[in-house]
Symmetry: C2
């Protein structure tokens, strides 16, 4: 726990969190390679896109066949694991909000299950090498990947926007 | 494994899957209550919406304060756990595709980390009761919930659509 973020004024944890996280287990299926480390990571994905830096997904080679059918130019939803997050926060006070807000009303990486979700564009697909290139993303280099899904308007846009 | 889906012609598993799933652990933070059980679940979320049936989220009451700031009418991204899925499939042959396709090119529940993602609309928020009502969703009654995030256009729409 030593490198987890410290509590800010107004932030409320659940003492002890939810306990051992043992309801289900995750596989890290690859890593996201980005130009970013702690201290120079863009504030959000829009800022990462503005830098036009690109990023690469290095999938576990055993899973290479599971990329079959993905193509450059296709939008995908990525799920990845924020391994430096706190999992016990109920109310959080990030710098950009006026008053502490509930964890589920924020996109903060600090949440009971620190799974991040971003919708990105594939710019290259190499099934043999088990790699994908994407337009941009705002996570640290080496972030563990959990899933890749085709982005589908009827599922990934809420009904008032679709 | 007894109740997992059987392999269809053309489907290819990774023998033994990725092994014990222990890179990280999940908390089930609540349950999604829907009208659907195996056999009568809509094919997709659009079909569920057409039935205008609604659905309810019952959050772990210890996490109730983490709903603070969510409001009715707001779009949210839900992540939930498809606990009846196979985790070893590389190529899959669902009925709606012509030829077997890679797992990461499909929204099938069968994937190394069976996390589903759907964007829905909040229709009621009760922080005290730790419940949310949503417009619709296409999962079985009792599906374990993993996360609730505010839906944000710049994160949840790919750059060619935003």
């Amino acid at each position: 726990m030593a490198d987890l973020p410290a509590l800010r004024p107004g932030e409320i944890p659940l003492p002890g969190g939810l306990g051992p996280a043992a309801d289900a287990g995750l596989h890290f299926i690859g890593r996201i390679r980005t130009p970013w480390a702690r201290g120079d990571c863009p504030r959000n994905i829009a800022a990462a896109r503005a830098q036009m830096s690109g990023a690469r997904i290095e999938l576990d080679p055993r899973l290479a066949p599971a990329l079959t059918g993905l193509r450059s130019g296709q939008p995908v939803l990525l799920l990845y694991w924020m391994h430096h997050a706190r999992r016990d926060l109920l109310l959080q006070a990030p710098k950009h909000v006026d008053a502490p807000r509930g964890t589920f009303a924020l996109r903060s990486p600090n949440r009971p299950n620190p799974i991040a979700a971003s919708s990105v564009l594939l710019t290259a697909v190499d099934v043999t090498a088990a790699t994908l290139e994407i337009d941009a993303i705002d996570c640290f280099d080496g972030t563990p990947l959990l899933d890749i899904k085709p982005w589908i308007e009827t599922v990934d846009m809420p009904p008032d926007r679709a």
